[in-house]
Point group: C2
């Protein structure tokens, strides 16, 4: 992978680089508690990028919320837009959202996309759907819809949509409560405010927790969530960790285990955006307290457990990207236990950070949520 | 307990109260995440107060590092200085340090004092010692030395000295590494950098972890500590939690269990005051990582688990007082797990907070470390 010379841009300016010289500008050096790092712009011109995942050849697929998938090749610094992407409802928080590459991509070429889907029956509602398709050059072919949130509502908010594979090959899909339907998160007859678990072909695993419960959606893995936009598998335990946006306060990280109720909206550490009380309780019997939470909110987008070799002191730490404060929270973990929180990058970029991923090179990649969005990279300082 | 009208003082000025009126000035109202509180000055004129504990009648005993014990009666707003206090070495971090009232005080009238003691053999060394005496009116009588750190060193630093009773009636005493003898913390032939456990009469419990180990000091409970100035018993588990000062960075909270090695100085999240490396390792096999830690340091003095009724949303939370940033860190706990940290009081007082205690009224009391030190109180806002 050749060195990428960042071009001058709004993001670069926000990085504090003011000298107008494309050759002199490479990266911003930043001292952190355990590593000295550099933050650099890999490429720009991404329209509200939302999700990304790497292919076995080291290139990366990036979704643009407006409805495109960009295939970026680092070595040639080339972008290609894929054909065959499903039609999405781009409005409010909806659009083309996450992307994940099949763990067996080399054999099957599947990639999975989540997005806000219009009502195929012609109604005015939308909901999160997940499709898969095979990547053939710069085309997506053999498209199959594998999951659709029911019911469809006319709401532009809280689509959840993060996609992550379990070590056993299940696909976890996170959803949201659609804001206007928060009480749905407490009942099992719908997919709002849930984490669901399916097989990659859309079939329901026989050991899902509610498959035998009458009236319950069989895909449900856990419930009582608000808007889960972060998900990652703990590298040592293999368990799913999920991050959700609280309202005003109360962003949560949960260890999302089968059948658990995470309390939204009957228990929360947050209040509503207009300062009204959603629940006066932070805990209700039968629900699970967050593993860790933030007040005030940082607006968590996605998170990763770092497992690479480029930053040895960060091994197995949790990195939580945020839309607010342009920060990444590093949670120093001992197993599941949060020992310490360090705030990274704050004030180093004014970007809303929409996604975070670990590259095959062990570097950490970020997407900035902007009309002229960027792929950013954290490297060890030279 | 009658309402206490704070007198105008440096502390009050630091509280942001600038109007010169002793009748109009009562308390500063502060909004926090779970409770609206008031911070008020109960009494001043305490010379470098270090430790405090409450008597069954609701009055409080406060040590002054310079060598006195002050008995403060809230109802009469009266201070009495006790006679019969042992002679202390007041120099550097040494002096008269902690005080704890026997859980069976009503029957036996014992109080326990920790302090920097001169070498009784006439050498130039000092070390932490603990004595007990019965409180008879405003006199301490029947004094008995029950523990003495060995060996004595000529060092003005790191005396540890916090005293706390276990639910079974043991007395835990925390020590320090004396700064110049940090390696002592890793060996069991001395009391430096240890937590020790004795019976209140000074005898060694038969089930202490190293009683049968040749060459080991039998009082040792845990080791590998730097300077433990905070200690409290978890109200649900009955286990000892201990807080220690890191060097530059690396203040730690540990669940201090029998025979454990907490790693100092072979593993630390801090560096030395001159920025030199003490250890390049944060973890070494055979040692225990901190339960929670701070970088940069907040300079932890003492901590309590809150168990009162005045602040119901704070039940069983851990409150960690700090010398730096005049702050109290509230750790919202679910059992042992830290779910969230809230910083309280920062910028509300310029005081170095030396001790924290829960009063029999359920209010939270603090001591400010100053020549004109104060007893402060956190109450619910009216």
């Amino acid at each position: 992978m050749q060195s990428v010379k960042p071009i001058l841009s709004a993001v670069l300016l926000a990085l504090g680089v003011t000298a107008i010289s494309t050759t002199a500008v490479h990266a911003k050096a930043i001292e952190t508690q355990r590593h000295n790092i550099e933050l650099e712009v890999v490429t720009e011109g991404l329209e509200y990028p939302w999700g990304m995942d790497f292919l076995p050849d080291g290139s990366v697929l990036i979704t643009e919320k407006t409805g495109a998938v960009v295939h970026y090749h680092f070595d040639k610094n080339e972008k290609h837009t894929l054909s065959g992407v499903p039609e999405v409802v781009y409005a409010g928080q909806g659009g083309l959202l996450d992307i994940v590459v099949d763990p067996n991509f080399a054999e099957n070429q599947w990639v999975y996309l989540s997005y806000a889907e219009a009502d195929p029956a012609g109604g005015d509602g939308q909901s999160t759907a997940v499709t898969r398709a095979r990547l053939d050059g710069h085309k997506l072919v053999d498209q199959e819809l594998i999951f659709r949130v029911a019911p469809k509502f006319n709401s532009r908010f809280h689509f959840g949509s993060r996609l992550v594979f379990s070590p056993e090959g299940h696909l976890f899909i996170t959803t949201g409560d659609r804001y206007h339907h928060m009480d749905d998160a407490q009942t099992l007859d719908n997919h709002d405010g849930k984490i669901v678990r399916i097989w990659p072909d859309g079939s329901v695993p026989e050991d899902n927790p509610f498959v035998d419960q009458a009236g319950a959606m069989p895909e449900i893995w856990s419930y009582g969530h608000r808007n889960v936009q972060g998900a990652a598998i703990h590298p040592l335990t293999g368990k799913l960790w999920a991050a959700e946006h609280g309202p005003k306060g109360g962003d949560e990280i949960n260890i999302a285990e089968a059948a658990n109720n995470y309390g939204w909206p009957v228990a929360t550490f947050g209040i509503d955006y207009d300062d009204s009380i959603i629940s006066d309780k932070t805990y209700v019997e039968g629900t699970v307290l967050p593993h860790y939470y933030w007040v005030p909110s940082i607006a968590i987008s996605n998170m990763i457990f770092y497992t690479g070799d480029a930053f040895p002191e960060w091994k197995n730490d949790l990195f939580v990207a945020a839309l607010r404060g342009s920060q990444v929270a590093r949670l120093d973990l001992d197993g599941d236990r949060v020992m310490h929180e360090e705030t990274l990058l704050q004030d180093d970029t004014k970007a809303r950070l929409r996604d975070i991923a670990q590259g095959p090179d062990g570097f950490i990649y970020l997407l900035s949520d902007d009309k002229n969005g960027a792929l950013l990279r954290i490297k060890p300082a030279e």
